[in-house]
Amino acid sequence: MSEFERIPSIKKAPDEEYYVPGHRTCAGCGPALCYRLVAKAAGPNTIFIGPTGCMYVANTSYGCGPWRVPWIHAQITNGGGVASGIETAYRMLIKKGKYNGEQPNVIVMAGDGGAVDIGLQSLSGMLYRGHKVLFICYDNESYANTGIQVSPTTPYGAWTTFTPAGEVIPEGRKHFPKDNAKIVAHGHPYLKYVATGSIGYPVDLMNKVRKGLAQEGPAYLHLHAPCPKGWQFPPDKTIEMAKLAVQTGMYQLYEFENGKYTLSVQLKERKPVIEYMKHQKRFAHLKPEHIEKMQAFVDAKCAEVGITVPVVAAAQ
């Protein structure tokens, strides 16, 4: 890994924007904030690959885009493949003396569909071949662009248009979500760095972007990006949802290097999952037994990465 400049605080984060105002994302969009923070951390020598998803469609409406740096669309299936080609082309041009600039940061910004579901094979291939690419999944836990359909990261119990709650299936979504950070972490010999991040913790997120870009090979970031439309909460609660996800252990922030998990946020205790779920209408139909099932799942996920602090309900 090469040296990189750490951002010490919100206040000392760089002023320069590479994801500028003027995009058709929802008011209070978590993935849009995710994009802005990633672009800010990565800086000007960056090429973004955007597989199909909200961050392609909402950002490029009507033949324009908000990126100050080069951006290219890839199909939802092949973010990793397009990035591999761009990374290799620059490497070869530099090697042959046909390009004088520095190797650009090549970043894929894929949604959970483009990273965890339809695009997983292309991501895996890219990691397997060892391309120096930072692959980022902005996870809003559904196919939000097409009107909120279920994706593999949709949490248990969440309403989507494909998992409506009813008499037969009272919890709506029956499955527990796929854990992509762990899927990629344990099966790719050349993968250098895996981390999870959240827009609720912007300094941590930006430093993980820089650390991922400083690796000599592929890196994968899974970033939690609450979606006011799909999760059905008011747009001014996006950051509160992101923070509560971490504070309840619904979403665990860690780095995975050399076979070891390092926690990024030291929690003193965990809030019960209901503290997170009660603000989101996608969980409004759930009964106490479903919440218990979710709590047990989250407890196990936290234990997996070494979050051992107790769950403490807020004092009444």
Binding site: K11, A13, G22, R24, A27, G28, A58, C64, P235
Partner: protein, 315 residues
């Protein structure tokens, strides 16, 4: 659209503007309720949403359309209403949008869901060309908005028609336009009491003089096509993307008390739209693009930011 492509003198067009996601369902219900009622009067009808506005995003202005005619509708494949007889605003700050009355027929009707008077609403209009009547109806006090993704983009709508604010708004449309019979609308909507209140309690103001609309040169589909890059390259913006100005999404705007502001940068880092700039004069908001999400107000640790209703400002 060429002006005389379809000669349909008896066709009535209704265009309903609303805020994306939060009012999509109610906007759709207004056009569906009115056309269902008209169908009972043996009219030819059509109700649909503007595909260009989809997928809808929180607060984005979206349009739902109705066509009602005693004759077969030849223009049924035209995907936008080009010359509305009635324009409906499901939310009052949409009056600041300069596109709402585009193409309005002479003597056309504007119906606004607001507590304000027709005179006040008239004040905010960028243009009142061709406008004949302004109607206000305080639908939010008569019914509760139905916020749902049901019925959007392939999903099944289980919530019925006209249970929310669409009922009183549709009532006000009927009062001002007589486009369908009240009793037929009553049969269609799920909340007939609210619909009747909208009909009875709306304020109708007929304008003394109809000012002709300024002629606007219409861009043809071919012009548009020539401008549109498809599978091509476009220049990167430098400081903002002028192709997607989002300031008119806002229903409330952030106002900062610079005495209370500690310049901690929290609002700045959390703005998804990069609409806050750190300057020597403190935090500056970019109102050309601010969508009014209020994350700045919600995250400010010192309570220095307040969201103020957009219509408290003339500009």
């Amino acid at each position: 659209m060429s002006e005389n492509l379809f000669a349909e003198p008896n066709l009535k067009q209704i265009t309903v503007w609303a805020r994306g996601v939060l009012q999509n369902k109610d906007a759709r219900d207004v056009v569906v309720a009115l056309t269902e009622a008209a169908a009972q009067e043996d009219k030819y009808v059509q109700a649909w949403e503007n595909y260009v506005d989809l997928p809808d995003r929180v607060y984005v202005p979206v349009r739902a359309y109705a066509k009602i005619s005693p004759d077969p509708i030849d223009s049924r494949y035209v995907y936008e209403n080009d010359a509305p007889d009635v324009v409906v605003l499901m939310e009052e700050t949409l009056v600041k949008n300069d596109k709402i009355l585009k193409g309005l027929k002479e003597g056309g009707i504007l119906v606004v869901n607001t507590r304000r008077s027709p005179e006040e609403i008239l004040n905010f209009l960028v243009t009142n060309g061709n406008l004949g009547t302004v109607v206000t109806v305080d639908a939010n006090s008569m019914s509760t908005a139905v916020v749902t993704l049901d019925g959007a983009e392939g999903a099944t709508d289980a919530t019925g028609i006209g249970a929310g604010i669409s009922a009183p708004v549709a009532g006000a449309v009927v009062k001002a336009s007589g486009i369908v019979k009240l009793e037929n609308l009553e049969k269609v909507v799920k909340n007939p009491a609210a619909m009747r209140r909208g009909y009875n309690e709306c304020q109708v103001m007929k304008l003394d003089k109809i000012e002709p609309a300024e002629p606007v040169k219409e861009e043809t589909a071919w012009d548009l096509l020539k401008r549109m890059p498809f599978a091509g390259t476009v220049d990167s913006p430098v400081s903002e993307n002028p192709g997607m100005v989002t300031g008119n999404w806002r229903t409330r705007r952030p106002v900062i008390d610079k005495e209370q502001c500690t310049e901690c940068s929290t609002c700045w880092i959390f703005c998804p739209d990069a609409c806050i700039t750190r300057t020597d004069n403190g935090m500056e908001f970019n109102l050309k693009y601010c969508k009014g999400c209020a994350l700045c107000e919600a995250t400010c640790p010192s309570g220095a930011i307040t969201m103020v209703p957009e219509l408290d400002f003339k500009e």
